[in-house]
Every structure is written in structure tokens, then in C-alpha cells.
């Protein structure tokens, strides 16, 4: 079985995880820029992080024969400081030509504050200006519905943004319809407690269809599973879904979306 892991924070995972993913059939892993668990103290911290995503992680993945791609941004949890955000955003264009950079992400909202919204708009503008794909993080738990609506409004209001160039991640039953109706792609994240379970993700597929959707683990430094995608594929098999249908979800769909960036080659 082959698959693409379209959202994993490998900087927080050990090399054993790369090995396990490769053994499970992973052909490419894509890593959005995210919150490290603490607030970085300056733009220089982000510069080093972007170097880690574009230089160190691809080499670490390549030792296991795995292709590594990444997304760059200032994440929503560090977006309350608009001045710092501006400094970080100014750094990003220097990295956009690196061979494994796919676009801007994971931008979005966390607590749905005005400053977070301002920084989201700044990064949507950056993506539009540089013709980049966008990967969006939607907030957790009670903040998700409100945040998803605010995010969709920002994207709709920027006429340069092509809806099919945006993947809105971490959808659940109450937000997936909004995202798909807006013409974007929808990502279901298989993460304990705060996001979807494999069973629920498959339920969503069975009710919303298999177009413009993908599965991901978003594994990070929290309790999470880098093999969540192949395990969900197994669950699909238990339910009687055919191999071709499973391949569409875990390989063809992410390949289609990510292939909109010419650098994404397997």
C-alpha cells in the first residue's frame, strides 16, 4: 500500500518514525511550519526553523528513502504579536525558491482574535503575491466553527486566491460542508481527542464523497501517531472499501492537490 502523509511535524519526531512510515508505504511527507510548544523569542528563531525545514529534515528523510516537502509561515499560536509576525513574514520570500517548499502554511486562527486575523490576512496576501498554495489550520474544539467561518471569509474576500489552491485542514462534521462548498480542499486529521478518529473520518468520506479531501496525522510533539493514515486505510478495508477507493484517498488525492506546485514530484 502506498500513501502520502500530507501533514506531519517531523521536527518533533524521531528518525525511527521516518523508518516506520517508509515501511508502512509512505512515499512523501509534507511538513507545515507550526508552533514548537513555546513562543520563539525573535524572527531569528523562525529563520533557523525555516532552515531546519528546508535543509535538515529533507536530508533526514532521504536517509530512509523518503521525500520531504514543507510549508512556511508564522503559525496562528504565535500570531498575537503582529510586529514579530511582520518580521517573520518578511523572511519567507527568501526561502520560497528552495526545492522542497510547497507553499504557505499552516496559517489560520487559534483563538480567533483580531491580531490573529490580521496576521492571517498578511499571509494570504503573501501567498497571493507569490502565487503559492495555501494550507490552513482551523482552531481546536469550541473555536473551530467560528474560526472556519472567519477564515473562509478572508479567503473569499481576496479575489486573487483560487479556491482549489487552498486546503483547509482539521475539518470535522460541522465544518467540512462549509469548506467543500467554498471550493477548497478539506483535510481530516487523525489526532487523538482534539480531532477526528479513523472511524469518524471514514464516516465523513462516506457522506461527503471522495473529491477534494485528504487524510493526515498532523503528528507532532503531543500524543499522536505518525502511522494514523495507513491505520485508517486498514479501517477502510475492514469496512469493505476497495483498494482503488483507498488509494484515491491516501495517495491520489494528496498527489493531485500538492501536484499543483511543480516542485512536488515523486
Amino acid at each position: 500500500m502506498r500513501y502520502i502523509e500530507p501533514h506531519a511535524h517531523m521536527v518533533s519526531r524521531v528518525t525511527d518514525d521516518y523508518e516506520r512510515m517508509t515501511l508502512a508505504g509512505c512515499e512523501a511527507v509534507c511538513e507545515p511550519a507550526f508552533w514548537a510548544g513555546f513562543d520563539r523569542s525573535s524572527a531569528a528563531g523562525f529563520y533557523d526553523y525555516f532552515c531546519q525545514l528546508t535543509e535538515h529534515e529533507p536530508k533526514r528523510a532521504a536517509r530512509l528513502g523518503l521525500k520531504h516537502f514543507c510549508w512556511l509561515c508564522i503559525n496562528p499560536k504565535e500570531a498575537e504579536d503582529v510586529k514579530l509576525a511582520g518580521e517573520v513574514i518578511a523572511l519567507i520570500p527568501k526561502f520560497l525558491n528552495r526545492p522542497n517548499v510547497l507553499g504557505i502554511g499552516e496559517i489560520g486562527l487559534n483563538k480567533n482574535s483580531r491580531n490573529e486575523l490580521k496576521v492571517l490576512e498578511m499571509q494570504v496576501d503573501l501567498a497571493a503575491w507569490h502565487n503559492q498554495l495555501i494550507l490552513v489550520h482551523t482552531p481546536h474544539l469550541e473555536d473551530k466553527l467560528k474560526g472556519t467561518r472567519l477564515i473562509l471569509d478572508v479567503l473569499k474576500n481576496d479575489k486573487r486566491i483560487r479556491p482549489e489552491h487552498v486546503i483547509i485542514d482539521h475539518v470535522e462534521e460541522h465544518t467540512v460542508g462549509l469548506v467543500l462548498d467554498a471550493g477548497h480542499w478539506a483535510g481530516m486529521t487523525l489526532y487523538p481527542e482534539t480531532k477526528c478518529s479513523p472511524a469518524r473520518a471514514i464516516d465523513i468520506l462516506e457522506t461527503c464523497g471522495d473529491e477534494r479531501v485528504w487524510l493526515n496525522s498532523a503528528c507532532d510533539w503531543g500524543v499522536s501517531d505518525p502511522l494514523a493514515v495507513p491505520k485508517t486505510a486498514l479501517e477502510m478495508k475492514k469496512r469493505g472499501h476497495l483498494a482503488a477507493a483507498i488509494d484515491k484517498i491516501i495517495f491520489q488525492n494528496p498527489k493531485k492537490f500538492l501536484g499543483q506546485c511543480s516542485k512536488f514530484k515523486l
Binding site: 482574535s113 469550541e142 473551530k144 466553527l145 467560528k146 470535522e172 460542508g177 457522506t207 461527503c208 469496512r239
Partner: protein, 102 residues
């Protein structure tokens, strides 16, 4: 009410019996955990807060024949407000919306 006009199509491979065979025991376990959580909360001294209220409201969505129970539960646990907040005081979510009086 969450608006959607997304046309769905069913790729349902399982019969009801197959759903029960595959998922009943896991769902039974989770139901008992929910019941035990409520027992625990009721047994504990002191006052609850909006989270317990929201939890009970969400439980009510499981009754009856209404469809999309998971979506309704998520809506019941969501922040219903629409405007951005002035400042993010912290980084974490708590699991339930502030309610109409929050």
C-alpha cells in the same frame, strides 16, 4: 444551524449488522465512560461550570431520530459568537463554548 448545500453521495459498504459487529463494543465502552464521567462529576463537591452545562446540552442531541448526531454534538459544544475577540488571553481551547451568558 450550519448551512451546507454540498451534494453528498453515499459510499456505504456496510449493512447495519456489519456496523454493529464492527463498532458496538467500542461504542458501548465509550457510553459507559460518559456515564461514569457524569457520576464522577455529580459525586464531587463544589460547583460545576459552563462545560458541564454544555456537555449535558450536547448529550441531548443523541436522543430521537434526528440525523447527523455528531455534527449536532459539535455544534452544541461550539462557540456560537461570530466576531473576533479583542485579544487571545491564552493559547488553549477548553472544549465548550461560552454559552449565551458567557
Amino acid at each position: 444551524m450550519v448551512e451546507t448545500n454540498h451534494q453528498s453521495y453515499i459510499i456505504n459498504q456496510m449493512t447495519k449488522q456489519q456496523v454493529l459487529d464492527l463498532y458496538f463494543l467500542d461504542a458501548r465502552h465509550k457510553l459507559i465512560e460518559v456515564a461514569a464521567f457524569l457520576d464522577r462529576a455529580e459525586r464531587a463537591p463544589g460547583k460545576g461550570d459552563f462545560r458541564l452545562e454544555a456537555f449535558r446540552a450536547a448529550l441531548g442531541k443523541l436522543n430521537g431520530k434526528q440525523k447527523e448526531k455528531a455534527r449536532l454534538v459539535l455544534l452544541a459544544l461550539s462557540d456560537p459568537t461570530k466576531e473576533p475577540i479583542a485579544v487571545a488571553a491564552g493559547k488553549t481551547a477548553c472544549g465548550a463554548g461560552p454559552g449565551r451568558n458567557g
